[in-house]
């Protein structure tokens, strides 16, 4: 960096001045968090935003693509980049049809805008392993349209037919050796009509799709230049202040009183804002605001009638509920026939609350200008977040510009229908009227109150004398993730939250007498999707119980599954590939055992074989051989990375992850008491691609569900004991 422009001697703390706390009026939006919005609301909004936010100027005019006179190709990425590689894979789709020089391709994250709505969900968002899936036709079409226009422009200039021209690597080639670069005709092309119909290439002609392609965003991520939301400074946004927020120690706590006397003498603090459920301290720097926040003495209260969630009590209540009948989500044949099984097993499983614990703690930057506002945030939910911000600021959505920042992970936490930390940032910004960057500390993030819910499953299953499954009666108990949110109407049908039962109710196993029931207790802990959502727990129960039944039937676990999957060739094929590549059936290295699991989620199938040992009571996963059928592979390097990533994330939870509540207080705060997987615990992960179909299916999440059951099945092979509680203990 250029130190010459910096007055080094001027690094000083700002003077001490105690601001008078301002008690803000509670906005209605505070009370309405999580409720009120319905998904359909976003549809008319699209039209409103379309008028308010014209697509970025582009040549040819398109919200997704800009071709510079220098031939540079800039793709607007409508999804959040938070590790999964969309800044590379989405431009690959455009570039394939455009026929440009890949080295000229750049990508930028698109702001919130109507043009960037998810093609399946109708609002701009990132989730459900669907970024490539929903962009597959859309972005190839964008590329093909632009190519057609560029060729037409060159043909016009040469006075030849477009059909006599072709495109190679960013150059249009015409009859008689004529050549023009994209940049040379970009401006003329922009004036041509956008063709309504274009023909997309067959897969056999792909040159970029399917090719291992290194990440476009990597260079700036190895030299410190990449700017995450947390990295915005006064250089980017003049007069930017930092806000830290004191929250109630217990879920649902409200501010009763506070004492800011101890702020006296602390330097660099400019504002203190009291609200219904937080106190914000705003200062010139993180450290000033942090010291100020930590000096606040606050008293909090909870509604005496409100439940004080307690993990141990919830587990016991869930367990009792699991023994009673639930609401039937799926029924095949007569599940009561399980009572006639020659060998039957009754098992109860429990799963804790989980925090997302992304590396970059939550943050949101807001500049409020009275009649408009601008936000900078690593959002998975640009449209809902924009709407929520507008409501909090008392502005129309089109008056709020939301810039998407790259995010240091998210795993679902940045896709909150309640837009919690964003609304909070807007409430503070509206009060202080200076641009602020709200930073949640790691502790704020860990205790921040949106978790993968805890669940209990109860399964009674058995095999007959011939070793066939006689019946399977499955009951899941756990809070609904989506109830009370804008997604309720979309994902809850007949009282069944699909995210609670996915992975069980739709099992591919051919089980003649089967039932999946659900009990949904009242929501007492704010909860959220967490990488692979319902599959985080359902795959564990399905795949460990299937393994248990295989042993009860004295069958090989792969052969036992194979017999139940004859109607599901993709699952079968992926399972077989993982088995083959792992050396299934051959002895494992001394002291180790293998366990296998296969699970379908987000349109893809992933099978994994984990090689495990136990030393001094510690589970060590040495190696994982994974096979994935994720349809047509866009970038093999990304698929490999995402499967490794998904396994690390799932293994972290399986071995370590647990958020516990005691009387409404989250007991964990940082990585010492919420440990996560470290490098020395990471298995070698080998990824095999199973030949797929003619279009891509999900990649970011399908690798997570199988790892915990694969490890648990290996633990059984080593110890003879079944793991029925996560995180695992031996």
């Amino acid at each position: 960096m250029d130190f010459s422009k910096m007055n080094l001697a001027s690094i000083t703390d700002a003077p001490a001045a105690v601001p008078k706390p301002s008690r803000r009026k509670f906005l209605q939006s505070s009370a309405a968090l999580g409720g009120g919005l319905v998904l359909g609301f976003y549809l008319p909004l699209r039209d409103r935003l379309a008028h308010a936010q014209p697509a970025p100027k582009a040549v040819p005019p398109n919200a997704f693509l800009r071709i510079g006179k220098d031939g540079s190709v800039t793709v607007q990425v409508k999804h959040l980049e938070f590790g999964q590689g969309v800044m590379t894979s989405l431009p690959m789709l455009v570039a394939e049809e455009l026929g440009c020089d890949w080295s000229k391709v750049r990508s930028e994250l698109a702001p919130a805008g109507a043009a960037y709505a998810h093609t399946m969900f109708g609002m701009q968002m990132t989730g459900g392993s669907s970024s490539v899936v929903n962009s597959w036709d859309q972005l190839r079409t964008v590329g093909a349209q632009a190519r057609t226009m560029l060729v037409q422009a060159a043909a016009n200039q040469w006075k030849v037919k477009p059909g006599d021209c072709k495109v190679e690597n960013g150059t249009i080639l015409g009859p008689g050796g004529k050549k023009l670069g994209f940049g040379a005709v970009a401006e003329a092309a922009a004036k041509l009509p956008v063709p309504e119909k274009v023909t997309l290439k067959p897969a056999s002609e792909f040159r970029i799709i399917g090719k291992p392609t290194r990440r476009i965003d990597a260079p700036d991520k190895v030299n410190g230049k990449a700017k995450f939301g947390l990295d915005l400074t006064a250089k980017d946004i003049p007069n930017l202040h930092v806000a830290l927020v004191l929250h109630a120690p217990m879920l649902g706590g409200e501010l009763k009183s506070m004492n800011a006397d101890k702020l006296k003498g602390l330097p660099g603090i400019t504002h203190v804002v009291e609200s219904r459920n937080f106190v914000a301290v705003v200062g010139k720097s993180y450290w000033a605001a942090k010291k100020g926040r930590d000096a606040i003495e606050a008293q909090w209260a909870v509604d005496p009638k409100a439940p004080k969630p307690d993990s141990a009590r919830l587990k016991s209540e869930y367990s009792q509920a699991a023994a009673r009948p639930g609401k039937v989500a799926k029924k095949v044949g007569d599940p009561a026939l399980v009572k006639t099984a020659a060998k039957s097993i009754v098992a109860e499983y429990d799963f804790p609350f989980l925090a997302h614990a992304a590396m970059e703690p939550l943050n949101c930057t807001v500049s409020y200008k009275g009649d408009s506002a601008e936000l900078w945030v690593g959002s998975q939910f640009q449209t809902p977040d924009q709407v929520a911000a507008a409501k909090a600021l008392g502005l129309a959505p089109e008056k709020v510009k939301l810039n998407t920042m790259i995010a240091g992970g998210g795993f679902g936490r940045r896709a909150n229908p309640a837009s919690d930390y964003i609304v909070e940032a807007c409430e503070i910004a509206k009060e202080v009227k200076v641009p602020i960057k709200v930073i949640w500390t790691r502790e704020d993030d860990m205790k921040g109150g949106y978790y993968r819910p805890a669940y209990v499953h109860r399964v009674e299953a058995g095999v007959d004398a011939a070793g066939k499954i006689a019946g399977w009666d499955h009951h899941i108990v756990g809070q609904s993730i989506v109830s009370g949110t804008a997604f309720e109407g979309f994902l809850v049908k007949d009282g069944i939250d699909n995210t609670s039962v996915e992975g069980v109710a739709d099992t591919p196993y051919d089980i003649p007498n089967f039932q999946c029931a659900l009990t949904t207790p009242t929501k007492v802990v704010t909860s959220l999707w967490w990488r692979s959502v319902g599959h985080t727990h359902t795959a564990f129960v399905m795949e460990t119980m299937i393994d248990e039944l295989a042993h009860a039937a004295k069958a090989d676990p792969v052969a036992f599954r194979t017999a139940l999957l004859t109607k599901h060739p993709r699952v079968l094929k992926t399972l077989a590939l993982a088995a083959e590549k792992s050396g299934w059936g051959k002895p494992a290295p001394k002291g180790r055992a293998r366990g296998i699991a296969v699970h379908e989620s987000f349109g893809s199938v992933c099978a994994q074989v984990a090689e495990v040992s136990i030393d001094n009571g510690q589970i060590k996963v040495h190696k994982v051989v994974a096979a994935i059928d994720c349809g047509l592979v866009v970038n093999p390097l990304t698929v490999e990375a995402q499967v490794q990533s998904a396994i690390a994330y799932g293994l972290s939870a399986a071995l370590h992850g647990a958020i516990t509540l005691k009387d409404g207080v989250v007991e964990q705060s940082n990585f010492h008491d919420y440990p996560v997987l470290r490098g020395n615990e990471m298995p070698v992960v080998e990824v095999h691609l199973a030949p797929g179909g003619d279009k891509p299916t999900g990649v970011g999440e399908p690798g997570t569900p199988p790892i915990a059951p694969a490890v648990a099945n290996a633990v059984f092979a080593l110890t003879g004991k079944r793991v029925r509680s996560l995180p695992m203990k031996v």
Partner: protein, 164 residues
Amino acid sequence: MIRFKVNGEPIQASIDPETPLLWVLRDNLQLTGTKYGCGMALCGACTVHLDGQPIRACATPVSACAGKNVSTIEKIGASAVGKRVQQAWLDADVVQCGYCQSGQIMSAVALLNTNKNPSDADIDAAMSGNICRCGTYNRVKQAIKMAAAPAAAAPAKSAAKKGA
């Protein structure tokens, strides 16, 4: 007044001596490549070198830097080892979200500065203080080996294998 250097440039700071180095780098010097992850020296995202030693800037008061030089990710490419490590990171396509990678790279450079040919166990020992929630650990290890012996390890074209 605390006098120290950042990437070789002299700094004079009249600030609360307890201010963690991390926030001096990020807020005062606007060197935001060094990341905040935990504030308790648990995750390694803020790793910088203090006179060549890897330290966690979030738990190091600026006063501890007096008379010393702090090296950060922004200038680590100026050293031969730093440049090699950054290149290996690109060749192995290590990064995902990238948030922890400044710290990973600073720890990797510190390791290779003292151990030219680290074993798997050496890498585990030196790198286990750096958490990556994206789980890039396999490729981190691969990149460190590539940086240690650029000729010996070929870059991953695609480590993912085609199935049957």
